[in-house]
């Protein structure tokens, strides 16, 4: 059963009855259990029981190789956070990085070496497994090409070791990843002579034209790009570059764009050349008229683009991501690079050298050739590590059938993935968080990886296994690997000085402050030519296959967090879906959840529909990463495997896989599927939840001050709560007197006045006003890209249960923090606005007054606290919460299937059934920092405390701090002209201040009826 248990089956029930009856009769009159105190036998010297220990390491989820800090308690990894010293992510972390913990503790990991006999996996001892491996190696005896070693795209020492090892054993290495940027690298080789993926830094550009690159989500190195993009686009200081997204289907990146233009897929290159020519970049035959026709973009729009590019140099242009790369992908990118030269972006915001190293991956073509060799039967021994060809190119190349030709097949996969299932022996590798290693995503940025904890399962690091094998084989191979362990090998490559090495470990590696920017390397060349993409198949829809934001190439598909979290664009969770434009949906007469049959000629699948407001009507978009046949209880049987569905087409020049390669027939099956789709109508119904301010007004003194000091009390408020002048310059709504709140003093309200604002328990609670802080948060909607990293971070930090599809259909998700995504009709189309919505910690909280047992109450530091084990579950608080951010435990969710429960944060309880829960502003982190400050006998400094959500945010959109301190960043942010409160007219006086999104597309702020009436 791939979902948490809700309701109980007959058998379980009988068990339960038995157990309960037993428990009742036995323990009914016994006291509860006394725990055992299990102390260390030999305590490690760096571990103080009860305090967390942090290890610097490198994330292993994708080739971007971000630096991470892993929090451990009593030897268990609990939380992954970004390493501020790492130039790639600078302390931020993406969804996948946050969720790597669920890879580490995944219940479907291979617990130890396995040997397949008669189609069943038998446990074997490591020694035997290793012996078996050695035997097979010996049998092959180093004959050239007899061993084929499939690996992922690796960098750094591990990559070197692999090559060395393969060399020593005459093994052929095939490094394959589905999203290997082959076209980009090929084009870069032609244009700049580099062969890497250029570093992109929008902050240096004035104008950003993305021809389909989803660079805030799945393309390139999203964290680094998001950081640059924020500087480019968040309009701090009133300057805001313009971002135009040109793509067939509105991507997450498109949501942040100032303008979205639909384009016929595959014609991005033509557009680039057309623009280049129009901008006087030479070339011929690409007059705007023709371009307009090819790309199906109005000519005047193109003319406008040209003008804007003309006026805003340097302008950065990006090409299509995987979804848009057809058989002409390389030419397309070549054209894009050419246009960048014309626009002067190369060397400023487009930095080709050194660029991101994707590892020496062979392209799709290379993989196919390898499979043919496999097919030919010359390969005796097949080794697979950290790659999953059976899932990625199974259909395209007949990998499974070919693999069966090899005599013996060994997988080093930590998971039972599709390829491991074909093998005879699994020697499970450590998870990245358990391993030694390093990564060099960009030449000169060398991040170290160290184990944050002892292995969860009986696994061994493949590097050690290989070195062991080499030793065993004796001869030259043995000589090449003198080191006892991979760690020693690592140290040797890092200069051989163990102390130095350890010093670097604590820093996270040998890290420059900034990403190295070699500027525009050589190369150059003339105007590239471009052919239209070859798109096979019949039908009126072009299939646009794009990488799923969380599951990407399918690696994330077995992590409940990632399945439960709604997709940032469609807000669909747990299910696989296909996206249609509203027009197409109308034409086919389908709506959310209606099942379509999609026929590509060489295959037919059925998927439920999700509607994407901005899409070309002749495109159907489907994310990859679903449809696993193996890989684990959560991933299996969910959706379809798009890699298999796509035809085996490739980009001529680079040999990279052409994902944009087929047309499909689409028909309405008339069936419907209960699709989990959060987000109600998706519109904000004029309720001013997500507000925006015209760019023109930014910086300019607003007509009406955002929140004038000492404004009259909103109608129907008690004076004791009503706004009063704050301390110097602080808008009143921030230091609002709250029930027995220190801030009441700040507002010079007399104790007596407070006393009368509510009944006070006779237990000295009024001593509260000794508190010195008023915690608050500011969220800049201009910076938020909706990536949902904060949501995962929140799940990881706060032991939030995931509830599974059945319950999500009922709207019972437990998320304390959700990203509300609203579409707004503005002139020139639709504008998307993201609002991270969590408990607002209202100064005047509706939930507090209605709780009969004080389970929720106001704390002296302005926090709205929920005391879980005082809660009796009347749910009145949730009914009275206008933001609906409280989550109720409808069941005892047993979703922490061991060992997932190892990840639980000991600083917070897990909530039992019948209890209300909600965001706490990460109270435990506040406490931790207070303790540290007190130990150092100092006051808390601004920025000491960062809640989980704020910590990981790629654009640092979330600021947390002390509103009672007029100089704190959060106070400053809250005083910003753009600041506002959601549902301010309800006078809930939230502690969370939002900063209006800066929009190019609106001339004036949309009126807020409800508020207007209050402020009139």
């Amino acid at each position: 059963m791939n979902e948490p248990h809700h309701g109980i089956s007959r058998r379980d029930f009988l068990k339960l009855v038995g157990a309960t009856a037993g428990a009742a009769s036995l323990t009914g009159c016994l006291p509860p259990k006394a725990d055992r105190l299990i102390a260390y036998v030999n305590p490690p010297n760096d571990d103080i029981v009860g305090l967390s220990t942090w290890y610097a390491s490198t994330c292993g989820e994708c080739p971007a190789g971000c630096g991470i800090h892993v929090r451990t308690r009593e030897g268990r990894a609990l939380k992954v956070e970004g390493n501020p010293a790492h130039p790639v992510n600078k302390g931020t972390l993406c969804v996948r990085g946050q969720a790597s913990l669920q890879g580490l503790y995944n219940p479907d990991r291979v617990p130890g070496p396995k040997w397949k006999r008669g189609g069943r996996w038998l446990d074997v001892k490591w020694d035997d497994a290793i012996w078996m491996f050695h035997e097979k190696l010996a049998a092959v005896g180093g004959a050239a090409g007899a061993i084929q070693f499939w690996t992922g795209g690796e960098t750094g020492t591990w990559n070197a070791l692999l090559d060395e090892w393969c060399g020593a054993h005459g093994a052929e290495r095939v490094a394959y990843e589905p999203f290997d940027y082959a076209p980009v690298r090929e084009a870069a080789k032609r244009a700049f002579g580099t062969g890497t993926v250029p570093i992109v830094d929008p902050s240096k550009a004035k104008y950003l034209l993305s021809l389909g690159a989803d660079f805030l989500d799945t393309w390139g190195s999203p964290l680094a790009q998001a950081r640059g993009y924020d500087a480019f686009h968040s309009a701090r200081g009133g300057v805001m570059g313009k971002h135009v997204q040109v793509e067939p289907r509105l991507s997450l990146t498109g949501h942040s764009a100032d303008e979205w233009i639909g384009i016929r897929p595959g014609t991005e290159g033509v557009l680039a050349l057309g623009l280049a020519q129009a901008l006087g970049g030479g070339g011929s035959g690409y007059e705007l008229a023709r371009v307009a026709q090819d790309c199906d973009i109005p000519a005047d729009t193109l003319a406008r683009l040209v003008k804007e590019l003309q006026d805003n140099r340097p302008a950065l242009v990006l090409g299509p991501g995987a979804g848009g790369s057809g058989t002409n992908a390389t030419e397309t990118w070549a054209a894009v690079f050419y246009l960048n030269r014309v626009l002067g972006a190369v060397g400023t915001s487009l930095l080709p050298s050194p660029g991101y190293d994707m590892g020496n991956t062979v392209s799709f073509r290379g993989a196919r050739q390898a499979v043919q060799r496999l097919q030919s039967g010359t390969v005796k021994l097949l080794l697979v590590h950290n790659t999953n060809p059976a899932y990625w190119i199974g259909n395209a190349t007949g990998f499974a059938q070919a693999a069966s030709k090899a005599e013996f097949k060994v997988s080093f996969s930590p998971y039972y993935d599709e390829t491991a299932a074909l093998c005879d022996l699994i020697l499970p590798d450590h998870h990245a968080l358990e391993s030694w290693g390093d990564a060099e995503p960009v030449k000169g940025v060398r991040g170290l990886r160290q184990p944050a904890m002892r292995p969860v399962f009986q696994t061994r690091q493949t590097a050690d296994v290989l070195m062991g094998a080499a030793k065993a084989s004796g001869g030259t191979a043995a000589a090449q690997f003198p080191d006892a362990t991979f760690r020693d090998y690592l140290i040797r490559r890092w200069g051989g000085n163990a102390d130095q090495f350890n010093a670097l470990l604590t820093k996270g590696g040998d890290l420059p402050a900034e990403l190295p920017a070699g500027g525009g390397a050589g190369g150059g060349g003339g105007v590239p030519a471009i052919a239209p993409p070859a798109i096979a198949g019949q039908g009126d829809f072009t299939l646009y296959a794009y990488p799923h934001p969380y599951h990407a190439d399918g690696a994330g598909a077995n992590k409940p967090w990632l399945l439960e979290m709604p997709d940032p664009v469609t807000k669909v969770a747990w299910d696989h879906w296909c996206e249609l434009s509203p027009d197409a949906a109308k034409k086919l007469n389908v709506d959310y959840g209606d099942v379509l049959s999609i026929d590509s000629g060489n295959g037919k699948v059925e998927l439920p529909v999700a509607i994407n407001p901005l899409m070309r009507p002749d495109v159907i978009a489907i994310p990859t990463g679903y449809g696993h046949g193996e890989y684990g209880r959560y991933a299996q049987g969910r959706g379809v495997n798009l890699f298999d569905f796509l035809p085996a087409a490739e980009d001529q020049a680079s040999g990279g896989r052409a994902f944009l390669s087929t047309r499909v027939r689409v028909a309405n099956t008339g069936k419907t599927w209960t699709l989990v789709h959060t987000g109600g109508p998706g519109r904000q119904m004029d309720r001013a939840v997500a507000r925006a301010i015209p760019l023109a007004l930014v910086g300019a003194a607003p007509a009406k001050p955002a929140e004038p000091v000492g404004e009259p009390t909103p109608a129907g408020t008690d004076m004791a709560h009503g706004p009063a002048a704050g301390p110097e310059g602080t808008p009143p709504f921030l230091t609002m007197p709250t029930f027995r709140d220190r801030t009441s003093q700040l507002n010079g309200l007399h104790e007596k006045e407070l006393a009368k604002d509510a009944w006070q328990p006779p237990t000295g609670y009024n001593q509260y006003n000794r508190a010195h802080h008023r915690w608050g948060m500011a969220i800049d909607l201009s910076s938020c890209t909706g990536c949902s990293s904060c949501v995962t971070a929140c799940y990881a930090e706060n032991n939030i249960a995931w509830v599974g599809k059945q319950n999500m259909v009922r709207g019972r998700e437990m998320a304390w923090l959700r990203i509300e995504r609203y579409y707004e009709d503005v002139d020139g189309g639709t504008e998307a606005r993201f609002v991270p919505m969590m408990c607002q910690h209202c100064g005047n909280a509706p939930c507090e007054t209605v709780c009969p047992v004080y389970a929720t109450y106001h704390n002296p530091e302005g926090l709205n606290v929920q005391v879980y084990n005082r809660c009796v579950g009347t749910r009145y608080c949730s009914n009275n919460c206008p933001y609906k951010v409280r989550a109720f435990n409808w069941f005892d969710y047993d979703c922490w299937v061991s060992p997932l429960d190892w990840q639980l944060n000991p600083d917070i309880t897990t909530r039992s059934k019948g209890v209300m829960e909600k965001c706490t502003f990460c109270l435990q982190r506040i406490r931790e920092q207070k303790d540290i400050a007190r130990d150092e006998s100092r006051d808390l400094r601004d920025g000491d405390i960062t809640p989980a959500c704020a910590q990981g945010c790629p654009t640092q959109a979330i600021t947390f701090g002390d509103l009672a301190d007029p100089n704190s960043r959060v106070t400053k942010a809250a005083q910003d002209q753009r600041s506002y409160h959601v549902f301010r007219d309800l006078n809930t006086l939230p502690s969370v201040t939002y900063l209006k999104k800066v929009s190019r597309r609106i001339q004036k702020e949309t009126a807020v009826p409800a508020e207007a009436e209050v402020e009139a």
Partner: protein, 446 residues
Amino acid sequence: MARDTGLTYRKINDDIISIGHRVGKKWLIVFGLDLLVLTFGICCWLYQLFVGLGTTGYTRPAMWAIYITNFVFWVGIAHSGTLISAILFLFRAGWRQAIYRVSEAMTVFAVMTAGLFQLIHLGRIWFFYWLIPYPNQRQIWVNFRSPLVWDVFAVSTYFTVSAIFFVVGMLPDIAAMRDRETGLRKKLYTLLSLGWRGTSRNWKHYAQTYIYFAAFATPLVLSVHSVVSWDFAMAQNPGWHSTIFAPYFVAGAIFSGMALVVTLIVPIRKAFKLEQYITDWHFDAMAKLILFTGNIVTYSYLTEFFIAWYSGNPYERHAFWDRAFGPMGWAFWIMATCNCIIPQLLWSRRNRTHIPTLYVITLFVNVGMWYERFVIIVQSLNANFSPWVWRAGYKPTIVEWGITAGSFAWFFMYFLLFVRFLPTFSITELKEILPRPFRRRKEKAA
């Protein structure tokens, strides 16, 4: 206002006291079925207890639904009882004598049922006692600002008072039964009659106590349901946050209560041939009251909609639009039909006194009033402030229906026992309205 119904003191004693003996097999069958339903309800509840509230259809935003609906419904039912027995007594409305015992019983049992739902809807019922203020080692108190705490007080007070009122009122009748009965029943009645001997002192105290409790219970009729209404009015949800709620709920309560009284009395009257005691005159009076309160309720509905529009408050406007024409609008229209349109039939005297018609109408009213609460609770919650969580996702599950059915069974269990073992009609007061015997002899003499 004595009316000659050809009754004599003796006949009254015979008729009323014999009811308990006249029930026969039918009673057993009905009672058995009732217990069966009750058991099912209990099982559903236990299942919910084990597995969690998730076994209901509850969801965000509809965190309250059928259980609170039932709570309000039963509290409402309770009201007419006290109205008839206390207020009408103080106003000396003659037609109450025949029916007030039944309605009092109904009151007590209805409150007992309502109380259950306060507990059933808790997420952690095993801590229900935290809602009661008492000195404890934790040294914490309940939150007196919370309407739910007011509820606890209101309901418990109401139950205590109406129960005492009920018992005290029965004293002389029980004594009368004691004097008739033998064996076990005699023992029981001896116990219950608290040594009543019918002396003038007894009667004097009885009369005083009765008036006293009547006076004491009267304000409760208004207060209790006002408090219940504040569960909603004190919250700020659109559709709840309204000053009209208290009077509106009280009227609704009496409306539904009277309806249920009729629903209960008609079968009893038929089964035990009490046409002489409960005449068209009584039904006519009750029907008028139903019509009157029904129209108040209707008026309140209209006011709500008008204010929602007139206030210009976008939240309110949306809430009420959604209430009538939203995805769950059907519930609203059931309510409107049953509570506003159908009762209008009672304008004609023929309908008021034509028992079958009246009976069907009251059944509709019962349904309608249940839906009124459902509409107020579920639909208002669905149309809350935050569009992001809008979802008409609430669908009751078998567990909820089971517990609801169980609550009716629970109520009728008590009522059936009451009919079987206690004086279903007030012997004393029925006699009071008879012309005094010796005066009649005088008349003959003359």
